[in-house]
């Protein structure tokens, strides 16, 4: 009649389960129900697209030999660098112990893990034979291939992230510290290998060069910080676990980081564009022209420059918008702008053909239109990330943990409160899950079950 799991009785009778679920859904507040429904629908759309992507053959994608890497690759790059950037931003708290960044710990780890899983899911759908890649990378690797190194480092990063998250929730602080350091190191190396995938190709002058790997790290910092800004503004707005310290520490920290990295990105982008205009280097100048005045001009000026850089900087700098809501808006815009940026980057390397490919010489620019399947996969991936993170946020103890009390962190004298079990009940701002919420699976104190 029932199953014992983790010292709790769970019913197995379907009618009892259905009734419990109905009660639970009724107890969920309406905005949250709408959020979940929208995300579920988008996830379903993504699932349909994913199933269509599974058989080998690329007709469902909009790519052609003259434009082989499309929006799925851009989305993979985007998610992969976001996961690295999350770790880079919060390693300032975990590894270097800067107190401002300490409240970011739990959420960044969960977010990074989810982002990386999403990235792997998206790239597995782009590959024609993803299972072969797993075996081929082990049995017959090519050590000269930057893509192989990228796989190695992101795979290692996945392992370190899993260890970090699990050790965080089971209270193994020594292991957690080691995992934090290892994942921070990998979080810096992995996006450089991803940049090297593009940077070593002398056949694509726009991508070619030693600058592409560090530029990818800069982009990683921006997207990671922007995502943290989105999440923590919501934590503050909805008074989720640990929101008191969020307002005083995390939000100013993210604002500082975001401002710095936006300024750096403006400089990087400016010089990258100027570089492409000097001389008439074949391939490079055509690609830069495509970005500035050609087919990529609209996404570049509107989404990348204005929406992704100018607007967030204005929101962060102007005194009127220096609020958590302003940070939310700036982060959203920067996040979306960075997605556009990676899509423009991947497209620019292919849009100006330096040679005919398989007998096709597109003139003047190679054309690519993402197919519906590709768009649905990307949308589904974003929705999946949002959905799973929302579930994690609401059902896992997300307050600060006591890991830094284990020593070796600066400013660890203050006792961190863990708000996992009793979030803000005294303040009257209930967690928006209502009375039907079941006790979390993990003990909020971080101890072993």
């Amino acid at each position: 009649m029932s199953v014992r799991l983790a010292n709790r009785e769970l019913p197995t009778d379907p009618r009892v389960i259905a009734r419990a679920m109905r009660l639970r859904v009724a107890a969920t507040p309406r905005p949250l129900r709408i959020w979940y429904s929208v995300l579920l629908v988008l996830c379903l759309v993504g699932a349909v697209g994913a199933v269509l992507c599974l058989p080998p053959g690329w007709e469902v994608l909009g790519t052609r030999p003259s434009f082989e890497w499309g929006i799925l690759i851009s989305a993979y790059v985007f998610f992969a660098i976001t996961t690295s950037g999350l770790c880079l931003a919060s390693s300032l708290g975990t590894v270097f112990g800067i107190e401002m960044f300490i409240p970011l710990e739990k959420r960044h780890a969960i977010l990074a893990l989810l982002c990386l899983v999403t990235a792997f899911g998206v790239i597995a759908l782009d590959l024609q034979f993803p299972v072969r890649m797993v075996f081929g990378a082990v049995l017959s690797p090519s050590l000269l291939s930057p893509m192989w190194w990228m796989g190695v480092f992101y795979g290692a990063y996945l392992v370190f992230l899993i260890v970090e998250v699990l050790s965080m929730f089971t209270g193994r602080w020594q292991l957690h510290r080691v995992a934090c350091v290892l994942s921070s190191i990998t979080a810096i190396v992995a996006p450089t290998t991803l940049g090297a995938v593009f940077g070593v190709l002398s056949s694509r002058p726009y991508w070619h060069g030693a600058f592409t790997p560090p530029a990818m790290v800069a982009a990683a910092m921006l997207s990671g910080t922007a995502l943290l800004g989105i999440v923590f503004s919501c934590v503050h707005r909805f008074r989720l676990a640990g929101f008191e310290r969020v307002a005083t520490l995390a939000i100013p920290a993210i604002r500082l980081l975001l401002t710095i990295i936006l300024a750096v990105t403006v400089l990087v982008l400016g010089w990258q564009t100027a570089w492409g205009l000097y001389g008439d280097v074949p391939g490079l100048s055509d690609a830069t022209a495509a970005i500035l005045v050609g087919p990529l001009a609209l996404p570049f000026w509107v989404f990348r420059v204005f929406m992704g850089l100018v607007a967030p900087l204005a929101l962060l700098a102007l005194p009127r918008t220096r609020t958590p809501a302003g940070l939310f808006a700036a982060s959203c815009l920067a996040f979306a702008g960075l997605f556009a940026d990676r899509a423009i980057f991947v497209s620019a390397g292919q849009v100006a053909p330096a040679t005919a490919v398989a007998g096709v010489l597109p003139s003047p620019f190679a054309a690519y239109v993402p197919s519906l399947v590709e768009i649905s996969v990307v949308v589904g991936a974003l929705a999946f990330l949002a959905l799973v993170y929302t579930l994690a946020e609401l059902h896992l103890p997300m307050g600060e943990h006591q890991g830094h009390l284990a020593g070796a962190f600066l400013g660890s004298g203050r006792l961190a409160t863990d708000a996992g079990t009793a979030p803000g009940t005294s303040a009257g701002g209930e967690e928006p899950t209502g009375s039907g919420r079941s006790a979390p699976l993990f003990d909020g104190s971080g101890g072993v079950l």
Binding site: R132, F135, L139, S140
Partner: protein, 234 residues
């Protein structure tokens, strides 16, 4: 487990002893049962490893690093185009003039397509016409000899719209003997004249040349309407 951890701070030896005592079976039959279970587990693991090893070696045979074997599989594909010298064995009437003509650099398969299968399946005693080949169309002549930018000026090419448009190349030219055969000169113009066939019927003024198409005026004019001074460059 928690008891063990509690014991870690304390008397470790005593804790281990009490744990071992709990694990030891109470009766001899219990001991036998546990030994049998352990042996079965070990045997099962060994067998599982063997199975995995066999599967892995078969799998590695498929996916592992065997470039020489893959190269051999590429070399083992069947060619569709044969060596053009093969055509000579059965098609001597076409081969003899061709090999002496100016088309001798154009191999048989260049116009007639892949013929390896045809050469392989046709026996020397097969009656002529038993194997049907797609007739080569005029477009193949134009593909090489149509006037186009980029072709070397020394290469023989004609502007097809000015060169007997509507006529088939094969009416005048024999591709196996690539010398142009020009229609004979007629010393009178063809405007405002009675129908050609009035004079040129088989019983009329001048015999119709052999190989001439016999039909209405329109067909005659496709070749004979243009002045015969159209030069075809050698």
């Amino acid at each position: 487990m928690s008891r063990l951890r509690d014991a870690l701070g304390g008397d470790r030896a005593a804790a281990l002893r009490s744990a071992a005592r709990r694990l030891r079976p109470a009766s001899p039959t219990g001991l036998v049962k546990r030994m049998a279970a352990a042996a079965a587990l070990v045997a099962g693991l060994a067998v599982a490893l063997l199975v995995l090893g066999a599967a892995f070696s078969a799998f590695y045979g498929e996916y592992g690093f065997h470039p020489e074997e893959n190269a051999r599989s590429w070399a083992a594909l069947t060619p569709s185009y044969a060596d053009s010298a093969l055509c000579q064995r059965c098609h001597q009437p076409e081969y003899a003039p061709w090999v002496a003509s100016r088309h001798r650099a154009v191999v048989c398969e260049s116009c007639h397509g892949p013929l390896a299968a045809h050469a392989a399946e046709t026996s020397p005693n097969a009656p002529a016409g038993s194997v049907v080949l797609a007739k080569v169309s005029d477009a193949i002549c134009v593909a090489c000899h149509g006037k186009a930018i980029g072709r070397p000026t020394a290469f023989p090419q004609v502007d097809v719209s000015q060169h007997y448009a509507g006529a088939s190349c094969l009416w005048c030219h024999n591709p196996h003997d690539a010398t142009a055969v020009r229609p004979p000169d007629i010393p009178h113009p063809l405007d405002r004249l009675p129908a050609c066939v009035t004079c040129h019927s088989p019983a009329g003024l001048k015999p119709v040349p052999a190989g001439h198409v016999e039909s209405s005026d329109g067909v005659c004019r496709t070749c004979h309407a243009r002045p015969a001074a159209v030069e075809v460059r050698p």
